[in-house]
């Protein structure tokens, strides 16, 4: 494999892993928030200073930024193995997002 193609592949794997980490962390954070720190009934809340969705996205972005270099290092070492893991990660993301939305809106 030409080194340039390998570098491009590793960067792509890192970007995809980061994006999927954002979505997965978002869902897991929402589940943890709903299970451990339930919010008051939204019908009773007039105003809140923090917007949960933005916070979950920020935490997800932080997790994505941590996952990216790890995924990049793995892909530089073994691109075939790293890319082979992606379909399962995509499937897990779809399942977790759908389950979280259904059970912990």
């Amino acid at each position: 494999v030409p080194p340039a193609a390998e570098r491009r592949g590793a960067l792509g794997v890192a970007a995809m892993a980061a994006l999927l980490a954002v979505a997965l962390t978002y869902a897991v954070t929402r589940v943890a928030q709903a299970a451990l720190y339930p919010e008051p009934d939204p019908a009773l809340v007039v105003w809140s200073t923090r917007i949960g969705m933005y916070w979950r996205l920020a935490i997800g972005a932080y997790a994505g930024a941590m996952v990216a270099p790890l995924a990049h290092a793995w892909a530089r070492r073994d691109l075939a193995a790293a890319t082979a893991a992606l379909p399962a990660l995509v499937g897990a993301t779809i399942a977790v997002m759908a389950l979280q939305s259904a059970v912990f809106p």
Binding site: G9, L19, P42, W47, P87, Q100, S101
Partner: protein, 150 residues
């Protein structure tokens, strides 16, 4: 334009672009069933469309919370919870669409066949996921918009 009128315009733009994006995402989802098929234009346009559709939604969310959310939960809590579901699913759809685009654009003759096969499967699955989630988002969005416009 008053603030409410601006919010209404943005709400409409967001909704119409969202419907177009959900429809557009089905195109790469169907085309890329064939793992040897290349459809970079379809993938890029669908991903751009969902990103452009998401932007006004992201901007509108604080206004929804301050002026609509409580009213919605008081009068129709089921629809209120549906709206919350919509936001979560939209985040997933956006991440999946970009994942699909990156996987598809990485396909290259310079990469080994096993790597290309994994990337093609990733792109197809990601676009199917994005299309399904965005379609659910559109259905929920229309339901909410009919019941609680700005």
């Amino acid at each position: 334009l008053s603030n409410t009128a601006l919010l209404r315009v943005l709400e409409h733009v967001h909704g119409h672009l969202g419907v177009l994006a959900a429809a557009a995402l089905w195109h790469p989802a169907i085309l890329l069933r064939n793992l040897r098929r290349r459809a970079p234009l379809s993938a890029a346009l669908a991903t751009t469309l969902i990103s452009v559709a998401a932007a006004p939604g992201f901007y509108l969310y604080p206004s929804y919370r301050s002026s609509l959310k409580q009213r919605l939960f008081l009068h129709a809590p089921r629809i209120g919870w549906l709206f919350e579901r919509k936001e979560h699913l939209a985040v997933g759809a956006l991440a999946l669409a970009w994942t699909g685009l990156i996987a598809h654009l990485l396909l290259s003759r310079q990469l080994p066949g096993t790597v290309n096969a994994s990337l093609a499967r990733t792109a197809h699955l990601a676009y199917v996921g994005a299309a399904v989630l965005s379609t659910v988002v559109v259905i929920i969005g229309v339901t909410v918009a009919v019941n609680a416009p700005f």
